[in-house]
């Protein structure tokens, strides 16, 4: 098996994991990421998402939502096929590494 580092950082892995099964608005993804102790400002978080978009791993679009008597917009994201593939590869990496470490094989690598 070729030994390669995962294509996603832990933060990207986490963000993609939130939208793996259904598309979500950016603020929900940010809340989940925050639950894992990642403190990012709104601007920094969306810059991260924009990079994922540019790399073709996710798609983002604005959708109108009604709050009270006002219609506003929020950015929603869905994962792309390339994104799912990258996420699976990363998961596989962590699983492989975890299994190897559990069996003490990593120390002989």
């Amino acid at each position: 098996m070729p030994r390669e580092l995962p294509p996603l950082s832990h933060l990207q892995f986490l963000a993609l994991g939130v939208i793996l099964s259904s598309d979500e608005p950016g603020r929900v993804i940010r809340d989940v990421v925050a639950d894992y102790g990642v403190r990012r400002t709104g601007a920094a978080f969306y810059q991260l998402m924009a990079r994922l978009e540019r790399d073709g791993l996710i798609e983002g679009w604005y959708e109108p939502v009604i709050v009270g008597d006002q219609t506003v917009r929020e950015r929603r994201y869905r994962i792309t096929a390339a994104g799912s593939r990258a996420w699976r590869q990363t998961r596989s990496f962590y699983e492989t590494v975890a299994a190897a470490a559990a069996q003490g094989r990593l120390s002989n690598a």
Partner: protein, 901 residues
């Protein structure tokens, strides 16, 4: 809406990619979160707090986005772009330069991040300087520069009248003179009469209050207002006894009649009068620009000037013929005024007409005040620039070794200058961005402070637009050149080898020291100019506050009252209303007096009436002198506590059927009855009719606090009781508490009575000098800011000088100098700078105080108290700023210093 506008304005200042990637989605999240929280909050205070915090978070988001953009730049290696493009050897030279420039820009950002203390100090100083300038410019642009909403508006003038005997000017002209001026003038295309009023649409169940513009035959042509539907008002409509017609304002037509194209020809009832609609005005048309024009009606004029030429007055607007100037118009009007003086001496002697440009007429005394503030805020910017130049210079000198190494390694002097200029440019651009934010808030704060009572155009439309951004950019580029070049050229003149050979603590170059000292001298000079200006305005304001207007303004409520004309056409009906309503108002607990008058004092009103004693007629060929005109009730004098000097006030005897009576002020008694009592004497009214003087009351300053008390003549309100008047209600305590009860008492008798302009007389007095107060306040802020900046500047220079002279000071102490000697050594250096700056500043300042002339009152530009107070304040501040470095110098330990040597 404000939040969206703010977000749009901020996003315009960010790199496009950062807006799309980060700002826009994050701001939408902020908005959603804010709206959700707002829904859950019921209290207005809580909602206001949430709104404020939401706006603050928007600004923080903007700053965070800039942080991301800068960090992104800084993290990119200088060579990164080169790796992505074909080999350097084939690279066009232009691209190479661009990369070099980008490298320099990134380097400049790194420098800013590395030196946070310097960056914060320089950015704050510059952002405030640039922001305050842009804010004042935004208001100047809206009020003085933006075109008025009429084609070729610069050719429009307002005709004014001046009484050469009294010096009193009026912004309207006599009807008789208007008719003859219109026929004889040569400098204008035409002259149009106009006036404003109010009425109510009565064509439906809901009466609709409408603002009326009355016009003469040519007025709409003068203003180039072409109807979008139907026809304009013309000469046929302004003839006496012509059918009653009107034009609808475009917005009224759209709003009230849903843009009905068949409106032309319809008859609409306006209070008691029916008028046929003949046309619809163009979209957005109003006159004057700040007024609302719901309907336009024709004024009906005689075709020939009446024998009593000054029996009525009208406002008049004219358009200069192509190629004619305002001076041509003034000459033409002056010539005709002289003709009228010869032809009608008894009515027109010493009577003169002159034109004022429309904008000048509308802006009044706001224009000099704005220009003064613009100059003052410019001075603050100059001081800020000098300070930042000093900061940059000090930093550059601290980096002399770095520069020398670069020079030694072959970098050209020009390259170093470009690097330092780029650093200045980056600093200025970041400060400019922050300055725009300061300007955004500052401009709105300034608009809130300026008086709104006049017709000053543009105040409702102050915005940070293209010209303001261009102005800000201009300031930024200028400041970059000013302070960047000073620092860059000073460093360039340093000799590389000398600096490299010198030890770390080597003293500052003579040239650089001279430059820093000169900058501080300039700061001190500019600061004292502002201090003197603020001091003079402070003294003027104090003088105005101590002026006795001749009446008591405390605890008096005023309000305008208009009765529906259709129901109160009859005097008996009006009599009945006033009798009952006044009795009710007087019965309100706390109400002491109620009075009525036509003119509210201190509002600039200059209505006059000729004064002539029948037994001492003015010689043939002369005009009787004019005195102030007022229509007042008995209660007016009591409510305002204008003292009765002799005789009596008006009372129930002064009915329409009774012989006419008047009351005069003490000034009339003194001027026209020097050795006798005026009471019982007679004064000529129109024609052969005379009136008896029944009382003499104290003088008041009627038009404004700055006016000297004038001769006034009061006519009895009781005799006529018009349907439109101003009420004056004196109460035992805060008059605003009684306002609801007063309004209720009026509405009880006449629900359709129109009560407006409710304000206390103290507020009227305060508003009459609001321009002075605003100038005082802002000039004071600018002066204190400049003083603080100058103090910081001199502190910086002295601290640096002390650091550089540590060895010398140590040696002096070792040789026996006392702490006092050392403190004095340092203070003396500061005192020399302060003295030179003060002399230069005072010499320049004394020459510029004439620009304050229109705002100063009761004080001369050379007022010794103001000048000495400014100098003392400045000297104390500078000495305090020098004392800290002086103390530090005195605490130098000679043993340590000499050991280091």
């Amino acid at each position: 809406m404000l939040d969206s506008r703010l977000a749009r304005a901020l996003s315009a200042l960010l790199p496009r990619r950062v807006v799309a990637d980060a700002f826009e989605p994050a701001w939408e999240d902020l908005r959603v979160a804010y709206l959700i929280r707002r829904q859950r909050t019921k209290s207005p205070l809580g909602r206001a707090a949430q709104g404020a915090s939401y706006l603050s978070f928007t600004v923080l988001l903007f700053l965070d986005c800039w942080r991301l953009a800068i960090v992104g730049w800084i993290q990119r290696e200088p060579s990164t772009p080169a790796r992505r493009i074909p080999p350097a050897i084939t690279e066009p030279k232009q691209t190479e330069r661009l990369h070099m420039f980008l490298y320099l820009v990134r380097h400049a950002f790194r420098q800013l991040v590395r030196e946070p203390a310097f960056t914060v100090a320089a950015l704050l100083t510059l952002a405030l300087g640039v922001g305050a300038n842009a804010a004042v410019f935004a208001v100047v642009d809206a009020v003085l520069l933006r075109p008025l909403p009429y084609p070729s508006a610069d050719d429009l003038v307002i005709l004014n009248h001046r009484d050469k005997q009294t010096g009193i000017t009026k912004e309207f002209i006599a009807i008789g003179d208007f008719i003859d001026l219109s026929a004889r003038q040569k400098a204008f295309e035409s002259i149009g009469a106009w006036g404003r009023g109010e009425t109510a649409f009565m064509d439906r169940d809901d009466p609709y209050r409408a603002e009326v513009l009355g016009v003469g035959a040519n007025t709409l042509d003068v203003l180039r207002a072409r109807p979008v539907l139907g026809r304009s008002i013309n000469g046929d409509d302004t003839r006496e006894n012509a059918p009653r017609v009107m034009m609808l304002g475009y917005e009224t037509w759209k709003k009230r009649y849903a843009g009905d194209p068949t409106i032309i020809g319809r008859v609409i009832r306006m209070e008691a009068t029916e008028r046929q609609v003949v046309g619809v005005a163009p979209p957005g048309f109003t006159f004057p620009p700040t007024a609302t024009t719901d309907i336009i009606i024709p004024y009906q004029f005689p075709t020939v000037a009446p024998a009593q030429r000054k029996s009525g007055w009208t406002f008049a607007v004219a358009r200069l013929r192509p190629g004619r100037t305002l001076d041509d118009g003034a000459t033409d009007l002056a010539t005709m005024s002289r003709q009228f003086e010869k032809e009608f001496p008894q009515q027109n002697l010493a009577s003169e007409y002159f034109p004022l440009g429309l904008r000048t007429a509308l802006t009044g005394n706001t224009k000099p005040a704005l220009l003064l503030l613009f100059a003052a805020v410019g001075v603050v910017l100059l001081i800020a620039c000098a300070n930042v130049a000093n900061l940059l210079l000090a930093r550059s000198l601290g980096r002399r070794r770095e520069m020398s190494v670069r020079l030694a390694l072959g970098a050209g002097g020009g390259r170093l200058v470009v690097q330092l200029l780029t650093e200045s440019l980056v600093l200025a651009l970041v400060a400019g961005t922050a300055g725009v934010l300061v300007a955004y808030w500052g401009a709105h704060a300034l608009v809130a402070l300026l008086p709104r009572s006049g017709d000053v155009p543009g105040l409702d439309d102050v915005r940070i637009n293209g010209p303001v951004m261009a102005f800000t950019l201009g300031i930024v580029v200028l400041t970059t050149l000013v302070f960047g070049l000073v620092a860059a050229l000073t460093v360039r003149s340093e000799k590389a080898v000398g600096v490299l050979n010198a030890s770390r603590g080597s003293s500052i170059g003579t040239k650089a020291r001279r430059v820093t000292s000169a900058l501080v001298v300039a700061e001190v000079a500019l600061a004292i100019m502002l201090l003197v200006g603020a001091g003079l305005i402070l003294r003027s304001f104090a003088a105005l506050l101590s002026v006795d207007p001749g009446f008591r303004t405390a605890n008096v409520m005023t309000m305008s009252l208009q009765l529906p004309t259709n129901r109160y056409r009859d005097r008996g009906a009006r009599e009945g209303f006033y009798t009952q309503a006044l009795a009710q108002i007087k019965a309100i607990p706390g109400v002491q007096e109620v009075g009525m008058a036509a003119v509210t004092p201190l509002t600039g009103n200059n209505w006059t009436s000729p004064f002539e004693r029948p037994e001492q007629p003015v010689p043939a060929g002369e005009r009787p002198p004019e005195v102030g005109w007022q229509l007042a009730s008995n209660g007016y004098f009591r409510a305002l506590q204008i003292p009765l000097v002799a005789g009596r006030l008006f009372d129930d005897r002064d009915l329409p059927a009774a012989p006419p009576v008047v009351i005069v002020s003490e000034a009339i008694q003194k001027r026209f009855f020097p050795n006798e009592s005026a009471v019982g004497k007679r004064v000529r009214l129109q024609g052969d009719q005379t009136a008896e003087i029944v009382g003499v009351v104290g003088n008041i300053r009627r038009a404004g606090l700055r006016d000297e008390p004038r001769a006034d003549m009061y006519f009895p309100f009781e005799r006529n009781k018009p349907g439109q008047t101003t009420l004056f209600v004196r109460t035992a305590s805060n008059p605003e508490r009684a306002l609801p009860a007063i309004t209720a008492a009026i509405k009880r008798f006449e629900p359709n009575a129109y009560v407006s302009e409710e304000q206390t007389l103290a507020h009227v007095a305060s508003e009459s000098e609001r321009v002075t107060r605003v100038v005082l306040w802002l000039l004071g802020v600018f002066a204190v800011t400049s003083l603080a900046l100058a103090a910081i500047g001199i502190y910086g220079v002295m601290s640096y000088a002390v650091r550089q002279r540590t060895r010398e000071i140590g040696t002096r102490i070792a040789l026996g100098a006392t702490r006092g000697n050392i403190v004095w050594l340092v203070l003396r250096q500061g005192a020399v700078i302060a003295a030179i700056g003060t002399v230069v500043g005072l010499a320049t300042g004394l020459g510029t105080t004439r620009f304050l002339a229109s705002i100063m009152y009761g004080v001369k530009g050379t007022d010794p108290l103001t000048l000495s107070a400014a100098v003392v304040l400045l000297v104390i501040t500078i000495m305090l700023a020098c004392y800290v470095p002086a103390r530090r110098a005195a605490s130098v330990d000679p043993a340590t210093t000499l050991a280091e040597q």
